[in-house]
């Protein structure tokens, strides 16, 4: 991972999309998720769960995630997260 890029972005600010920035941080720093969403009250917790799930599935325990949501569905959030991670670790 060390030779890959440490920070990357995926997504857009179009309606029903989400713009995600993933920055890999030092081991032990933990996960920090910074979420902005028009549906924070209704779906904030669910969106965080999806973001955490994708990080965990990729074996990432230390990262800072900025997510600017525009009403994306879970599939979209997962796909944008995966792409952002792939880019951050240099797979993209």
């Amino acid at each position: 991972m060390s030779e890959g890029r440490r920070e990357a972005q995926a997504g857009t600010l179009e309606s029903a999309d989400i713009l995600i920035t993933v920055a890999l941080t030092e081991p032990g720093a933990g996960l920090q998720i910074d979420l902005v969403s028009p549906t924070m009250k209704q779906y904030g917790a669910m969106i965080r769960q999806v973001i955490e799930k994708v990080l965990t599935a990729n074996g990432i325990a230390d990262a800072m995630v900025h997510a600017n949501d525009k009403g994306a569905l879970d599939y979209t959030i997962e796909a944008r997260m995966q792409t952002a991670i792939d880019r951050a670790v240099g797979k993209g």
Binding site: T39, K41, Q42, Y43, A45, M46, K70, G71, L73, D74
Partner: protein
């Protein structure tokens, strides 16, 4: 108490004399007589033309605690309401009730005067932007009363809403107060909402930027109802009053919903010679005009009348002879204003003729079909067009409940999801139009027919339209988006949703 729409309505509400719970769309049998306008004696040689708004405010006798009204025909280009409230504030008058036919974003400018106590109550069709938020936060001395266009006409004519002074923007006016809305640089078209205010307010002040020699022709509001005339530099911004010709949508989702709506109409018994129709100005509704036009031409039928909220697609159909007559309370684009001016079959009507349920019969009673948009719908077919998903007031009642109650086929169009939020719910946040007056709900993923309308369900069989149960649509929305966390219920009542008959169909509570 729980009303007939299943909503909890407090028996006592601060600042409201009598709370009548909604009991059904035609449950109330009104008694008595309409109120009469104040008697005045305008003598020969009397001068109505005053030098300034300040002079007009003095002459009108406006005092603390009175009710003032305005029309919203200038939409987001309106300069009248803000100017007048500003002038009233300068005079130090306070505690007024503001009762315009509706409010637009441009009117956010009056917020400082609400905070300063110049205006302490609002009765109108709804609210948007910062004003909507202010109403929702309960910053007024009593809950905002939200009425439909027909309900407002009813309230004025029966005396529930007494207007002390009406300040009416007049795009074309003479010095004795005759006016119309079709001439002048601030032309807005129909003055339909203003007609009711002019006929019933104790004092009527015409405000114009286009004073013409007496007499104005044609006359929409007559000199017999107008006490004073004031000339100001400008009453509106033409770019905000009317757009260029409204075109049909290019949004594929709206087009699909428009196609479904047209399909439902085509397969109903109402698609026949002499059909009457109202279309909203929302994207899907406007687009349906084009599809309906094609189907009418293909089937070789013509309609009797159209109602609006007139837009260019409707004007085209009138000109093609697809409709005999257009009834017009409000114009949304320049071709509609031109048509009202030039085409004798394009008829200006008052909000009362349009929709007052407590008259001998408004034109909505003669409607076959209406297509309406919605913010949210629910499995009982109730419709919300007032509050957003966070419970904030952001829309207006308009003619929604009036036309749904009047029309034989009321079609409501709403996307299944807005962003991530499902729009087909267990229970809408705020009921404006009761489900018993809604016949069909159309989403981009399917159509639901109100189970009361077994006849319609039958007619749509074999139509190849995606007819589903409303519960299926709701399930589909939740499968896509997940179940939203319910918002905590608010407590303080900040607005009343009056049904068109004056009963209370729902209340808006301040979100926690």
């Amino acid at each position: 108490m729980i009303n007939a729409a299943g909503r909890e309505i407090p028996e006592i509400i601060k600042g409201i004399t009598k709370v009548t719970p909604y009991a059904g769309p035609f449950a109330i049998c009104p008694q008595g007589r309409m109120v009469g306008p104040k008697i005045r004696a305008g003598k020969p040689g009397s001068e109505k033309l005053l030098k300034s708004l300040e002079q007009a405010i003095d002459a009108s006798g406006l005092r603390d605690g009175m009710t003032i009204s305005f029309h919203h025909h200038f939409r987001n280009g309106d300069y009248v309401l803000n100017q007048v409230v500003e002038a009233i504030a300068r005079k130090g008058i306070r505690g007024l009730t503001l009762a315009p036919s509706s409010l637009n974003d441009v009117n956010d400018a009056i917020i400082p005067h609400i905070e300063a106590g110049v205006i302490t109550a609002i009765e109108t069709s709804g609210g948007r932007g910062k004003l909507g938020r202010l109403m929702t936060l309960g910053k007024l001395s009593k809950p905002t009363i939200i009425r439909s266009h027909g309900g407002r006409a009813r309230a004025i004519e029966c005396g529930d809403l007494h207007i002390d002074v009406a300040f009416l923007g007049a795009p074309c006016c003479d010095r004795y107060g005759n006016m119309n809305g079709v001439e002048g640089r601030s032309a807005c078209g129909s003055l339909g909402y203003a007609m009711v205010d002019a006929a019933y307010a104790d004092t009527v002040v015409a405000i114009t930027d286009n004073l013409v020699p007496h007499p104005v022709h044609p006359i929409s509001i007559p000199q017999t109802q107008v006490d004073f005339v004031v000339v100001v530099d400008s009453i509106g911004d033409p770019a905000g009053i009317a757009s260029g010709a409204l075109r049909i949508s290019r949004n594929p989702r709206e087009l699909l919903m428009a196609e479904y709506a047209t399909g439902v109409i085509e397969h109903s018994e109402y698609f026949r010679q002499g059909i009457s129709l109202q279309l909203g100005s929302g994207g899907a509704s406007l687009s349906a005009a084009k599809f309906i036009q094609e189907k009418m031409l293909a089937r070789g039928i013509t309609g009797s009348f159209g109602v609006g909220g007139i837009t260019n697609p409707f004007v085209e159909m009138l000109e093609q002879g697809l409709f005999e007559t257009m009834f017009d309370t409000q114009d949304f684009d320049l071709p509609s204003i031109q048509s009202l001016r030039n085409n004798p079959r394009h008829v200006e009507m008052s909000a009362s003729y349009y929709a007052n349920p407590h008259s001998a019969g408004p034109i909505v009673n003669n409607l076959d079909v209406v297509i309406l948009s919605a913010t949210e719908v629910d499995v009982d077919f109730n419709v919300n067009v007032i509050t957003d998903s966070n419970g904030i007031i952001m829309g207006a009642s308009g003619g929604h409940s009036d036309t749904a109650a009047g029309a034989k086929l009321a079609i409501v169009v709403a996307p299944l999801l807005r962003g991530r939020l499902p729009m087909v719910l267990d229970r809408v946040d705020t009921i404006v139009t009761p489900g018993e007056t809604v016949d069909v709900i159309i989403t981009e993923r399917g159509i639901a027919v109100n189970p009361r309308r077994t006849d319609l369900i039958e007619s749509l069989k074999g139509s190849r339209l995606p007819v589903l149960h409303i519960q299926d649509l709701q399930r589909m929305a939740v499968e896509l988006a997940g179940k939203p966390e319910p918002l905590p219920a608010g407590d303080e009542v900040v607005a009343l949703i009056e049904y068109r008959d004056g009963s209370i169909i729902d209340v808006v509570r301040k979100p926690k």
